[in-house]
């Protein structure tokens, strides 16, 4: 199964990864070859088989809604690309 150029552009938008014009063909070829591999699944009869969500059928546990961590904003923001007054800075969104 091959992936069309338009589809690659849509995937690039959905995944927020810029893909250069010069690499679209290569990306399309690689993705197509992986899809060919995974398309083997389509031939398997899985009627009535439950999709597996956890190997031991464990479920998410609940806990009391109590504070367990202290605020470490300064430590966390020390590794950020750009901050100001305790806020993460990004390019202007609204003119």
């Amino acid at each position: 199964m091959s992936i069309e150029r338009q589809e690659i552009e849509k995937l690039a938008t959905l995944s927020r990864i810029a893909i250069g014009e010069d690499t679209i063909t290569e990306v399309s070829e690689r993705l197509s070859s992986v899809l060919e591999l995974v398309d083997q699944l389509q031939a398997v009869n899985t009627e009535g088989v439950e999709a597996m969500s956890h190997p031991m059928k464990a479920t998410q546990r609940l806990r009391e809604d109590e504070i367990s961590e202290i605020n470490q904003r300064e430590a966390f923001q020390a590794v950020a690309p750009d901050t100001e007054d305790g806020l993460f800075l990004v390019p202007k969104v609204i003119e």
Binding site: S15, I17, R30, A58, V79
Partner: protein, 484 residues
């Protein structure tokens, strides 16, 4: 000192034959002198290591030393280390210094281990050759033109080259067992949920599991004793008592029923590798085990199912790398969308980008049921194969990889050829089962690994089985040329 096992180092430290500072200096000197040949380490933490070694020596002198007090180890660069750069093999995290420790790192700190540095790996653990690392490939200590395996290739090469006696690693589709096999060391991927994943950078959350690498099963037991723990911070961690993995190493394996799946000895397996693995199975027979032919009929579907599930989960996990809160940010973004798309285009390498795109495709509207849903159903079938097998046998054995270490670039253009490297290892991740690789021979002067797959939480028995083999054979103690 670098040829001693962790068990021997513990004895030597406790009987004051040598100090932790001496030991740490010795390994740091080896890393400084030899790692240029292998590129196994991304970061060396010499100052912190020497400080930790001095503290360990004080505790050893005071007589209240914990289990691994003063033993030098390495952490795969996927485990967050407080104050020490944690790159995950990616340009995206080249500047990332975590403000906290992973639970695994914390556990080793509590046990008194000394961390020498962080090991190289495939970018975000996506690869079977270490060729996708931003820091360049790791070279196999047995053959410098060949790959060490991946993604934990740095940890495996470092242990094989005696740059450290043990290391942490992670396994999503074979990333502990395959490099362990290719580098001639022992590695164990525990049951899903046995080791905390908190602070371990996520790749595919339903498959990822941390585990130990060392030269012997006895050493892996010592490392797992410390690594395995229940952790409130990881909601997938299973609340179950951690046994003493060292206590049962000496048990007899007489009467052990070993399942030998015909699908693991079929087309695609290198004949010399097969011969080597069959010889290992015969050794088990000689020790009183019984070989039982079994079938895991859905084995062939494990690679296709894996390459839907792993990229799908990776595509969601890796959305967090957006250039806003930490890690790489592109220069002069013109707006927010440009910031996201260019940061991710420049920060991720090709393999990671391709997997994110594949994963996004499998999860996108209209395709979810056909791909992710279907793969999760097939996963159930694969697990049922194992359930049936374990009704008949105690443990399953076969090759870890189809052939010994391959040459750099030899699978470069075809992603599917590289993915098939995982053909014998991914099924255990899909089923959540524990698996290990043990050195069992040499082909063309390159190591071959015997894979041992156990039932859920059967790590103690697997380590016992591997240890008994290592008592009777010498493959685990061979060293690459120029190392000893």
């Amino acid at each position: 000192m670098h040829n001693l096992t962790i068990a021997e180092l513990v004895t030597g430290l406790q009987s004051k034959e040598f100090s932790s500072v001496e030991l740490t200096q010795h390994f740091l000197a080896r890393i400084a002198k030899l790692d240029a040949n292998y590129n196994a380490l991304i970061t060396v933490t010499a100052d912190q290591a020497l400080k930790a070694a001095a503290a360990a020596d004080e505790r050893l002198a005071a007589g209240n030393a914990p289990a691994l007090c003063g033993v030098p180890i390495l952490h795969k660069d996927i485990f967050c280390t407080n104050g020490v750069r944690t790159s995950c093999g990616s340009k995206m995290l080249d500047n990332f210094i975590p403000p906290y420790n992973a639970t695994v790192v914390e556990n080793f700190e509590q046990a008194g281990a000394v961390v020498l540095g962080k090991t190289n790996m495939d970018e975000f653990a996506m690869g079977s050759s270490n060729e996708t690392s931003f820091y360049g490939p790791v070279k196999n200590p047995w053959a410098s033109d060949s790959v060490p395996g991946g993604s934990s290739g740095g940890s495996a090469a470092a242990v094989a080259a005696r740059l450290a006696p043990g290391a942490t690693a992670t396994d999503t589709g074979g990333s502990i067992r395959q490099p362990a096999a290719l580098c001639g060391i022992t590695g164990l991927k525990p049951t899903y949920g046995r080791v905390s994943r908190w602070g371990m950078i996520a790749f595919a959350s339903s498959l990822d599991q941390g585990g130990p690498m060392a030269r012997t099963a006895e050493d892996c037991a010592l490392l797992l004793n410390c690594m395995a723990s229940y952790d409130d911070k990881d909601s997938t961690c299973i609340d179950r008592e951690v046994p003493d993995y060292s206590a049962t190493l000496g048990d007899s394996i007489k009467g052990l029923k070993i399942g030998v799946p015909s699908e693991y000895f079929s087309e695609g397996l290198d004949p010399d590798t097969e011969k080597t693995v069959r010889t290992a199975l015969a050794e088990y027979e000689a020790q009183g085990a019984e070989l039982v032919e079994i079938s895991l009929p859905n084995t062939g579907l494990s690679v296709p199912a894996y390459y839907v599930i792993a990229p799908a989960e990776a595509s969601t996990n890796l959305t967090r790398f957006d250039g806003v809160r930490y890690g790489y940010r592109c220069e002069d973004p013109k707006d927010l969308n440009d910031l996201y798309t260019r940061t991710r285009a420049e920060g991720f390498g090709d393999e990671v980008k391709h997997r994110i795109l594949i994963g996004t495709y499998c999860l996108s509207a209209g395709y979810y049921d056909a791909y992710y849903g279907k793969a999760q159903q097939v996963r159930q079938l694969i697990q049922q194969d194992f359930e049936k097998a374990f009704e008949q046998v105690d443990v399953i054995m076969g090759p870890t990889t189809p052939s010994p270490a391959f040459k750099f670039g030899s699978k470069g253009d075809d992603p599917v050829a590289m993915y098939l490297e995982d053909i014998y290892t991914v099924a255990t991740n899909l089923a959540g089962l524990p698996g290990m690789s043990v050195p069992c021979g040499m082909v063309d002067n390159k190591p071959v690994g015997l894979q041992i797959i156990g039932n859920y939480f059967d790590e103690a028995r697997m380590l016992n089985i591997a240890h008994q083999y290592q008592q009777a054979t010498k493959w685990h103690s061979l060293a690459p040329e120029g190392i000893a």
